[in-house]
Amino acid sequence: MATERPSRLRVFSLNCWGIRFFSQLCTQRYEMIGELLCQEQHDIALLQEVWSERDFLFLKRKLSSSHPYTHYFKSGVIGSGLAVFSRHRIQDALLYQYSLNGYPYMLRHGDWFGGKAVGLVIVDVSGLKAHVYVTHLHAEYSRAQDEYLSHRTVQSWELLQFVRHTSCGADLVVLGGDLNMHPQDLGNRLLRSHTGLRDCYTETDMFDGCEDGHTLIADNHFTKKQDLVPFEKGIRIDYILMKGSQRVTMKCESLSTTKGPVADKPFPYSDHEALTAEFGLLHSEDSRQRGSSDTLAVSEQMEVVAEARALVKEGLCQTEALRDKAMHLMFGALLLLLLPLAMAFLPCSCSCSFSTLGLLGAVCMVLLLSGALLYLLFTTHIKVLKETEDQMMLTSNDLQTKLTGCQLSGSSSLDGSPEIQPLSPFKREE
């Protein structure tokens, strides 16, 4: 039991756009970000797209007095890009790398090379156990024809599962990051309805920032206007979500965002806007957890899971088609390989066609190898999609049981914890 209850907690979240040699004015912007964090003295700063470890180490050195506790999540080829700076002790950290994250051959998108993940740090905030999550989901390059939608849906599912399963002992839960999804997108609704996390923007009474809470805006001169089409002014894709517990009631006292250009500075901090949320924490012994605690919420959860499942199934079909193409490529290459081999052994071959044969053989080998690698990749993706679908089905069945049980007993309220709720003591399982 803590003797002093902190009444306030300030959380900062920013997608830093730290792609060395690609994003503009990277080093200078990190200087600015470092200064901002040093001045503002947030309790916890959650950064995304800190792709280069050097930049993380620079910030760590700069913030060593204000934020002595840090964690840099490493995964994938380039790294997860996720970093946490905290004024309070970080007791533990865990990383969950998403199973799907784009394709290695989509080099111009490059997401696959970043090991996108959700990082959890357990922070001791004056005796309270805060579970703080930072994440970054797959980018959306074309809303009209989003080839990564199933990947982002799987990522949302894994994110909500991870939060649900690891936040049991938490006094408070905070999730910050770039979800690359609009507030009413399926993944967002899935995340919020199943974890009980609340969106600070909708919860707060005091908001100061871009119109409609946008975090990627046209006024920011780093942002490409075509990325925002058809949304002229901007989109809201970065979030700070929160949830209290039975011990602690959390309220978002205020939320603010940067608004593009920074006063006295030649350019903004990043192509994204930064979010700062201030929470009020109230210790209360018998507060009930808000969220998924009634029939309506359970039905809503079921609907959104059904929608997500349909999407995952669609992604599964698409990936199976891709895998078939890879298999055709392999067999085609194999057949084509027989041609130069046959010709090489025929008596009428002459030296001048040797180079052509060699070239053809080489091309066939490359095609065969590519086909094999793609087959490997798509098979792995299919496994992930099937697993996600199975997990969704389990949850769906579970919700159905809750709903039926709820209706039978006539009560309209269940305890909101995502963990199994004890049934009546007189009712044995099966």
Binding site: P68, Y69, T70, H71, Y72, F73, K74, S75, G76, V77, I78, G79, R89, I90, Q91, D92, A93, L94, L95, Y96, Q97, S99, F113, G115, L120, Q161, F162, H165, T166, C168, G169, F354, S355, G358, L359, A362, L369, L376, T379, T380, K383, V384, K386, E387, D390, Q391, L394, T395, D398, T401, S417, E419, I420, P422, L423, S424, P425, R428, E429, E430
Partner: protein, 436 residues
Amino acid sequence: MTTSAPIRFRVFSLNCWGIRYLSKNCKERFVLIGDLLSQEQLDVALLQEVWCEKDFLFLKKKLNSIYPYSHYFKSGFIGSGLAVFSRHRIHDAFLYRYSLNGYPYMAQHGDWFGGKAVGKVLLNISGLTVHIFVTHLHAEYCREKDSYLPHRVVQAWELQQFIRHTSAGADVVILGGDLNMHPDDLGTRLLRNYTGLQDSFSETAHFDGCEEGHTHISENPFTNTDGLVPFGGGVRIDYILFKGSGEVDVSCESLSTTKGPVPGHPFPYSDHEALTAKFLFTPTTKGNGYSERQSGCVSDKLPELVNTVNEARTEVKVGLHCAERMRHTAARTGIMGLVLLVLELAIATIPLFALGTEQPFPKASFYLLGALCFAVLLSTLMLYVFYSMEVKALQGTEDQMRLALSSFQEQLKESPKVLSSDHLRKPLDSKDSIHF
């Protein structure tokens, strides 16, 4: 509210060796396994190496009346091989795939192609929240020179992290699987010490099975006896571990293993022996019982844990140096290949400037060399990508371990029991202070 009557709970675990076309009598053995599970009055069966989904579906159909709930964990290229059959409703399932699992070019070992992971299912037994984990770690092919040790240590670390972080609300935690580690190996000690899970073999009141609880024995006709000779004919690498909580006391009433050949059957169920554990869940009055051990980090166990984590960190650092060296080699070889290709292209342009065409252009060698350079470039590029991922995973694990150690230091400082300093080894880095 939990019921006050104690509950008996039977758990089964078996590495099924279900590698179609490679493992012997695969189909017939799955029939035997199905029969066994049908006969035994089990609550939960945890299977590993069910690589082929068809075999899982066969078992599912066969066991549908007795075990109506099941989950097959899918990951990787071949699959995780993990399956759960349960008499009780499975409310939720979650999978954590290990970051490291061998090398793709070690095709003869093949572990990389299986998506080894830890799977979790959530059951509710008469109001008790039971978290069941099933897993399978990387195989050990050569104990003297175990090139996969860092990978297995990372897997053991991720396993304990996953269990600890996701079982905070559990009344009962059970882990079954093939850990591919001996009871006193680093990874097993790390797992047990940090999670507080207890080994059913050492805790059981009544044991009936192979000598020393071995689960991979020379009497089994499927096993390779040469590998087991230095260990006296058997090794214990499959486990059922358990833990209660403040609400529930869990004890292992009995544990049994199969003993190789099965009477009445022409061959055993698998090359591994099956484990069956019978637990007793006794709801306790709130506050009594297990709450002290819940965190797995009691003050007197802390120094041992610090040593274990330090030891694990050393292994991970060794693996990291190795991986960084391999990545460097891949990069160097790739650059050499590139230089060779450029050189070759330069040489090829000489005939264009030659005054005459006295010498015929050596097309064959040109193309062959070009193909070789290209192959070298491509393979070193892929290896560079792979080793980068390995390096990141090892660094990430080392960071987490360092964080854990600094947490332990804090706990020890705050602990009322001040222990003698010779219990504590110094952390590896001198700059490792409280403020990390």
